[in-house]
C-alpha cells in the first residue's frame, strides 16, 4: 500500500472498466443493427469481464475503503462491494426502466412482467446484501477480537449510532413489503 502502486491500480481499475463498457456498448449497437458476428465477441469479452470485475472491485474496495483503517480487515469486503453494487444497479435499472416505460418506443416493449422480474431479482439481491452485512457483524460480535471490534464500536457512538439506526425500518420496507407486493401481483397474474 504505497502511493505509486495505489495510483497504478487506480488507473488499471478505471481503464479496464471504461474499456469494457465502451466496447460492449459499441458491439451491442452493432448487434441491434443486425450484425450477428459480434455475438461471440460479446460473450468472450463478458466472460473475461466478469472475472476482471470481481477481482478489480474487490481490490478497489480494499484500496479505497478498507485501507482507510489500516488495522481493520474483512475477508468478506469484496463480496460486500459486489453485492451492494449489484443491488444499486438493479434499483437504478428499475427507476430508469420506469421512466422509459412511459415514453415511446420503450412503452411498447416494457411490460409489467419485466418489472415483476426486476422486483424479484431486487428482493434476492437485498437479501444477499443483508446476508453479507449480517455475516460480517455476527462473526465480529461472536469472535470479539481486538482488531475487529473497534470498526463497529466507532460506528455505534459519537452520533454515528443514529445513522446506524436508520435502517431499522428497512426490513419492513425492503423485504416484507416487496414480498407482499410480489405475492399480490403473482396472484393477479394468469397461470403460465
Amino acid at each position: 500500500l504505497n502511493s505509486g502502486f495505489f495510483l497504478a491500480r487506480y488507473f488499471v481499475y478505471f481503464a479496464g472498466w471504461i474499456a469494457l463498457a465502451w466496447t460492449l456498448t459499441a458491439w451491442s449497437k452493432r448487434q441491434d443493427e443486425g450484425d450477428m458476428s459480434v455475438n461471440l465477441k460479446i460473450q468472450r469479452l463478458s466472460g473475461f469481464g466478469i472475472v476482471f470485475y470481481a477481482l478489480t472491485v474487490t481490490f478497489a474496495g480494499i484500496d479505497w475503503i478498507m485501507s482507510l483503517n489500516p488495522h481493520w480487515y474483512s475477508t468478506l469486503f469484496g463480496f460486500l462491494m459486489m453485492g451492494g453494487q449489484g443491488l444499486s444497479s438493479l434499483a437504478f435499472t428499475i427507476i430508469i426502466s420506469r421512466y422509459l416505460s412511459q415514453r415511446s418506443p420503450m412503452q411498447e416493449l416494457l411490460k409489467p412482467a419485466h418489472f415483476h422480474d426486476l422486483g424479484k431479482l431486487s428482493l434476492a439481491f437485498t437479501m444477499l446484501w443483508a446476508y453479507f452485512n449480517f455475516s460480517q457483524f455476527l462473526l465480529t460480535y461472536a469472535a470479539n477480537l481486538v482488531e475487529e471490534v473497534p470498526y463497529f464500536l466507532s460506528r455505534l457512538d459519537h452520533g454515528w449510532q443514529y445513522l446506524a439506526d436508520l435502517p431499522d425500518p428497512v426490513p419492513l420496507l425492503r423485504a416484507v413489503l416487496p414480498a407482499a407486493v410480489a405475492r399480490q401481483q403473482a396472484g393477479e397474474q394468469p397461470p403460465r
Binding site: V51, L68, H71, I95, I96, S154
Partner: protein, 160 residues
C-alpha cells in the same frame, strides 16, 4: 419508490463505511496522534458529489436512449438468437503516522477479548485467482462456441 429508497440506503451504507474513519476537518483518525474519535458530521461535498453524477441520467438516458431504441427496434435481436444467447504493507503508514508499532492503537485489550495474528500467505491466493480466471474464461467460452456454430452462414444449406 422502493428502488429510490434502496439507492438512498446504499448511499448511507457507503457513508457509514467511509466517514467514521475521518475527523470533521478531514484528517484520517488513524494518521493522527493521540486519542481518536469521529463525531458525526456531514460535509457539503458529500451531498455535491452524488449530484455531479446526474450526467448519466440527463445525457446518457434521457438524451440518447430514445434515439438508440428507435434505431434498434426494427432490427432487434431475433428471438431465436436471443434465446441462445498484511501487515508488512502497513510499515509505510506507521513510519509516517505517529504510531510506534502496528498495534499501539489497540494497546488496550478489552476484558474477554482475544487477539489474532494474521500471516497471510500470498502464493495460495495467487494460485486460486489464476485458477478462477482460467475456469471463468473457459465457462464463458463454451456456450459461445455453440452459438457460433448455429450462426454460421450457409450451415443449413450445406446440411441440405
Amino acid at each position: 419508490m422502493i428502488a429510490a429508497w434502496i439507492i438512498f440506503m446504499r448511499y448511507v451504507d457507503i457513508y457509514m463505511l467511509v466517514t467514521p474513519e475521518f475527523a470533521s476537518d478531514g484528517a484520517n483518525l488513524h494518521m493522527a496522534p493521540g486519542e481518536h474519535a469521529s463525531h458525526f458530521f456531514v460535509s457539503w461535498l458529500d451531498l455535491a458529489a452524488p449530484l455531479a453524477n446526474r450526467r448519466a441520467v440527463d445525457v446518457d438516458v434521457r438524451g440518447q436512449s430514445p434515439a438508440a431504441s428507435d434505431a434498434g427496434l426494427p432490427r432487434s435481436v431475433p428471438a431465436r438468437v436471443a434465446s441462445k444467447l498484511r501487515r508488512p504493507l502497513m510499515a509505510e503508514h506507521h513510519s509516517a503516522g505517529h504510531h510506534s508499532s502496528p498495534d499501539d492503537e489497540y494497546a488496550f485489550t478489552p476484558e474477554g477479548a482475544a487477539y489474532e495474528h494474521t500471516d497471510a500467505a500470498v502464493a495460495p491466493v495467487a494460485k486460486f485467482l489464476f485458477w478462477l480466471f482460467v475456469r471463468g474464461r473457459g465457462h464463458a467460452l463454451w456456450p459461445g462456441r455453440r452459438l457460433q456454430a448455429d450462426d454460421r452462414p450457409g450451415r443449413e444449406g450445406r446440411a441440405a
